[in-house]
């Protein structure tokens, strides 16, 4: 335990940190190396595009669905960076993400998942931070500036997305997809509006959630809000800044293509499932 008892001794600590740093071993997820890049989960899953990633010449493989907001956050960033992905599309309705094969890739059984060579990474926010740090080039400073305060506010927004805003979408979609509900309840709507209210406070004094420019935070929050709009659209009277921000984002080419289209598709999918659930009653 290298920190024990040393915490108060700055200089010795720094030396130690340096030693540990230089000795740090490469860390890899346990499934790396056991699953080949071109794994096919079953016959329904096909690679929709076979392209090579320009930036790295290494293949990037993304497990995604078009109606999945966190998948779309990765695609928006990928497009902004000029990255090209191969795709795999596990059918969530058929539970293809809960198979032992998929769990070997991602034990949490969620999409998106990125494979970059033999490195596998789940979780959209972590994926975007990784893609930007590795392939971001000049965009790095634009989308995730090295100024520590700006960076911290971006992180804060990303955690707010993961811990609260996207939760409010799952609260509706998860019970719907397993046949339990056929509409959004008033509590669901209240919770979604509470989320919009917080986005509104982030936009209080700036056109984008973490300042004057579009950053990683807008990409993730924008994709989530676009998905939430498929459940309960943002009311311009109640949340004027949020509505205006969405319009600003929609003017970005990749946003329209992935986030907005994905949100519409998600809304359609949800209504389809609601109708099915109603009939089953």
């Amino acid at each position: 335990m290298y920190f024990g008892g040393l915490a108060r001794r700055r200089s010795r600590l720094n030396t130690l940190l340096f030693l540990i740093h230089t000795q740090s071993v490469a860390v890899r997820p346990p499934w790396v190396g056991r699953v080949s890049c071109s794994v096919h989960l079953n016959n329904n899953m096909r690679i929709t595009k076979t392209l090579w990633n320009k930036a790295s010449a290494a293949r990037l493989l993304l497990y995604k669905r078009d109606a999945s907001p966190p998948s779309n956050a990765v695609r928006v960033l990928g497009a902004m960076l000029g990255l090209q992905f191969d795709f795999e599309e596990p059918d969530l309705l058929q539970m293809e993400h809960r198979t032992p094969e998929y769990r070997k890739i991602n034990p949490m059984a969620t999409i998106p998942v990125l494979k970059d060579g033999d490195f596998t990474l789940a979780e959209s926010h972590a994926i975007n931070l990784y893609l930007l740090s590795k392939y971001g080039g000049e965009q790095k400073e634009v989308l995730y500036p090295s100024d520590l305060k700006t960076r911290a506010v971006i992180d804060q927004c990303l955690f707010f997305d993961a811990g609260m805003l996207f939760r409010r979408l799952l609260e509706v979609s998860q019970p719907a997809f397993i046949g339990k509900i056929d509409s959004a309840s008033s509590t669901h709507i209240r919770n979604i509006e509470e989320g919009y209210g917080i986005v509104e406070t982030y936009l209080e004094s700036s056109p984008y959630v973490a300042g004057d420019r579009l950053t990683l935070a807008d990409i993730s929050l924008g994709c989530t809000v676009a998905g939430l709009e498929g459940i309960h659209p943002v009311d311009a009277d109640k949340f004027p800044k949020c509505k205006a921000w969405l319009a600003r984002l929609a003017a970005e080419p990749y946003f329209k293509e992935f986030a907005v289209a994905g949100g519409v598709l998600f809304g359609k999918l949800l209504r389809h499932v609601w109708r099915r659930n109603k009939k089953a009653d």
Partner: protein, 215 residues
Amino acid sequence: MPIDFYYAPYSPPCWSVLMVAEALDLELNLKIVKTSDGEHLTPEYLKMNPQHTVPTIVDNGFALWESRAIITYLVNKYGKGSPLYPEDPQARALVDQRLYFDISTLYQRYMDYLIPQMLEPADEAKLKKVEEALGFVETFLEGRQYIAGDNLTLADYSIAASVISFNSVGIDAFKTPRIKAWFERVKTVPGFSKSEEGAKLFGNVVKEMINKKSS
């Protein structure tokens, strides 16, 4: 100038900040927020943090909340080069992935299990989801000493705070061997005892609320 730290001793997300501050040898100006008295909902507090959560820090006028954003900020600013938050893209990505896993899966499923118990009996299916999430942690520890590699990182602090709080409400987080061995290792990190004190308070608050419901 010390950093103002708005916190509640019983609040699990506050513990990781306490531990990381101690690891970085940072002085925090402790400001207890009595959430039971609505101190987090006053106009002054909302002006600082409209999301009205603890923990919140104010570092030289800069207000920041979300515990995991706070700990990454503290290392970026006061512990540059520290292996707690490695700079290599793949090593850092694993730490980030675990932090997001903690907020959206591990701690979330625990809250999903715990909070409804203030009103209704415990739902065993929700406990199963918590146990499944602990199973993911067990997987992370396959072939590793710590949550995101062979060094202690911020991921350990964040997940330790969650696990400490599980124990305080009687969820057995140590059914599997790797988590058990890992917890013995993290027990020796600076600030750990503060988390345990907080966990006692948290356990009592939760028990009291659950008992109130059934009486």
